[in-house]
């Protein structure tokens, strides 16, 4: 196919590429929304709104005819339309990768940066996951016929990897002017250092997220156990996740890190009088209908002089709890 024939064939498929790009983007976002629960959550999850982009005709021709001659460029060039998903954390890349692999198309992973890291363990450069998807069969989208096996490239990267890619793109991949070789070497070295730093930072971010998640999970476990104990003691079910529970979890973060669900069991088991107190008090006070009083009770007995200092609500409630537990409020409120 000569240049004119290739140009007209490519221009003929532009509407189909455009429709394919939008469909792929929409399908991934819709699945993400299902997983994360709301459109708002998706907006937060995606650091940059994904916009499908069809390759310009001249750029396609240049790639097909000049950069590397291909026998069937319309099939072989896979980034005729592409969309990029930029996320915060490395683990978020996997989430989108899985959605792509399970989508209503044929998906193939073209670049796997995790694998590339291992294959070139002492090499720091561009990192992104690239997928190429192709339509399984001919389909019609928005009245436009999409041929079978039409490709679309999906790039997934963290926002730090994106920053690196943008920098590297403008300084080495497609420089506006060619630099003297010595200068280019310095730039390449700096880029490698930047990439290594970004890889390190991405790992650190992952660690931060893990710590936060571990903490949230341990707090949730404590609130759930409180609610179970409350139900056993009073025979009344109680919602483990309440506004008061959140308030207390927030106020006593430092103390809660040393508490385990088993501590709560032992604490409640050592207090046979708790049942009567709770049954009597819950009838007239919403505070005692919240199962977080179990967790709070343990915090009070373990840290009786420190709890009032961080109490986030009306102190009358806490003073009453001290009274119920038989601990004097004298001098600490």
């Amino acid at each position: 196919m000569n240049e004119a024939e290739l140009r007209s064939a490519y221009e003929a498929r532009l509407p189909a590429l455009d429709a394919l790009g939008r469909w792929v983007t929409h399908t991934i976002i819709e699945t993400l929304e299902g997983q994360l629960g709301s459109q708002n959550a998706v907006t937060k999850f995606l650091q940059i709104p994904p916009k499908p982009r069809v390759k310009e005709t001249d750029s396609f021709l240049e790639k097909a005819l000049v950069r590397k001659r291909r026998s069937d460029p319309l099939s072989e060039i896979t980034d005729q339309v592409g969309v990029r998903f930029v996320v915060l954390l490395l683990e978020d890349i996997d989430r989108i990768g899985k959605i792509v692999e399970a989508g209503p198309w044929l998906a193939q992973k073209d670049r796997d940066f995790q694998q590339e890291r291992l294959d070139k363990a002492d090499y720091f450069a561009y990192q992104s996951d690239h997928f190429v998807i192709r339509t399984r069969s001919e389909l019609t989208l928005e009245g436009i016929v999409i041929p079978s096996a039409l490709p679309c490239e999906i790039q997934i990267r963290t926002i730090l990897q994106h920053a690196y890619a943008e920098m590297a793109h403008s300084s080495s991949y497609k420089p506006p002017v060619r630099l003297p070789e010595e200068d280019q070497k310095h730039i390449n070295r700096s880029l490698a250092k930047g990439s290594a730093l970004i890889e390190t930072t991405d790992d650190v971010f992952g660690e931060i997220k893990k710590r936060l998640r571990d903490y949230n999970e341990s707090i949730t476990a404590l609130l759930v156990r409180s609610s179970e104990i409350y139900r056993t003691i009073t025979g009344e079910s109680a919602n483990p996740s309440t506004a008061l529970g959140e308030l207390i979890a927030e106020a006593y973060r430092g103390m809660l890190k040393d508490v385990t669900p088993d501590n709560l069991n032992s604490w409640a088991a050592a207090r046979p009088g708790l049942k009567n107190s709770l049954l009597k008090k819950r009838a007239s006070s919403v505070f005692y209908r919240d199962s977080v009083v179990i967790l709070l009770g343990l915090l009070v007995t373990e840290n009786e002089t420190a709890v009032p200092k961080c109490w986030p609500a009306d102190s009358d409630y806490l003073e009453d709890l001290y009274s119920m537990l038989g601990i004097s409020t004298n001098g600490i409120f």
């Binding site: 009567n276 107190s277 009786e304 009274s323 537990l325 038989g326 004097s328 001098g331």
Partner: protein, 355 residues
């Protein structure tokens, strides 16, 4: 003692005055029980817990006179008395309280007698509490539409100030002997007294009128043992604190001076606040609870006199430095330890000639 689920059942209130006022204006002694609504009951319960439960300043006392007709006998008989007997005994005790209010700045006020149930150290118990509540002054706020008025009240009782409350708390630990026709035995009861005067130094005599002259009790026989136990708990806690040896020596010196100060009672929370660094206070109070030291105790130095008399500093080279405790604090300063195994000290005074 861990006291929870405090539930007041029968309550009566009488007026008490200074002994010198009895003749000129006899105190009002009520014939009727007081009915408390839910919130008032909760407030009375809270005041009792605040003054006698874990972390409070109340101390154990021992009944000195438990004979028939004694205050102990009258008070404990109220538990099983019918309402008439309850009222009669309370009136007798209120009158007696007015009679012994002779010394110092004792104010008129109310004597409140409360019979109820509680959960003490895991067991259901009955209790009888006698509260001497001094009247306080306050302003009563009323909101009517857009108008707020403040009215002077000069007879408010059981406010937040513990300064205005004295309490005797008789907790029944074992039931009456069914074969005995007489009164109750002191060993069936745990008796606790709260009086703010016992916390402050130099007021021993002033405080003694309530538990001594009125109730015919004396400070607990256990006081010496409790003082020794507390001293040892603090010692071992300081030994495990993650601080330098020099700081440990300083904290132990603080412990000795705390015991030597002119105070009637010692309470773990107050001790922690006044002596230990903030970061270790919570752990210390927890340690005391775990060791069974919940409330305050009367200070009695008999069993620790030797330990208080002098403070020592022992070195790994077998050198030991002794000084009287009151001198040690100001006359011995630890400067630091060098890497070659020497410790630098500064000692006030010059070396005296050898005898």
């Amino acid at each position: 003692m861990n006291i929870t689920n405090l539930d007041p059942l029968r309550v009566i209130v009488h007026e008490v005055v200074r002994a010198s006022q009895i003749a000129e204006r006899p105190p009002v002694l009520s014939d009727d029980l007081v009915v408390l609504d839910g919130k008032s009951k909760a407030l009375v319960g809270r005041r009792l817990v605040d003054t006698v439960a874990s972390g409070s300043h109340c101390v154990d006392v021992t009944v000195d006179d438990g004979s028939a007709g004694s205050p102990f006998d009258r008070a404990t008989a109220m538990l099983d008395a019918d309402d008439d007997g309850f009222v009669a005994n309370s009136k007798y005790l209120a009158k007696l309280l007015s009679t012994v209010q002779t010394a110092g700045a004792i104010k008129s006020g109310s004597a409140m007698f409360i019979e109820g149930t509680c959960f003490a150290d895991g067991r259901d118990c009955r209790f009888l509490a006698i509260i001497k509540a001094d009247s306080d002054q306050a302003l009563l706020k009323r909101v009517s539409g857009e108008i707020i008025t403040l009215t002077y009240v000069n007879d408010m009782v059981l406010g937040d100030s513990q300064r205005l409350i004295k309490i005797a708390f008789f907790i029944e630990e074992s039931g009456p002997d069914s074969e005995s026709a007489g009164g109750r035995l002191p060993e069936d009861f745990s008796v606790k007294v709260f009086d703010h005067l016992m916390q402050s130094s130099g007021n021993g005599d002033a405080a003694a009128y309530f538990y001594g002259s009125f109730l015919k009790c004396k400070l607990s026989n256990n006081a010496a043992r409790q003082s020794k136990q507390f001293f040892e708990v603090v010692h071992s806690f300081i030994d495990k604190m993650p601080v330098s040896q020099a700081d440990r020596v300083a904290y132990k010196g603080d412990l000795i001076s705390y015991f030597c100060q002119n105070r009637e009672t010692i309470e773990p929370r107050t001790f922690a606040r006044e002596v230990l660094p903030e970061a270790h206070q919570v752990a210390f109070v927890k340690r005391c609870r775990d060791e069974g030291i919940g409330q305050a105790f009367s200070k009695e130095l008999d069993m620790i006199k030797g330990k208080l008399r002098r403070q020592s500093l022992k070195f790994s080279s077998n050198v030991t430095l002794y000084a009287p405790s009151d001198v040690f604090r100001d006359a011995v300063k630890i400067i630091g330890t060098s890497e070659d195994g020497w410790t630098e000290l500064k000692i006030r005074g010059s070396i005296e000639p050898m005898p």
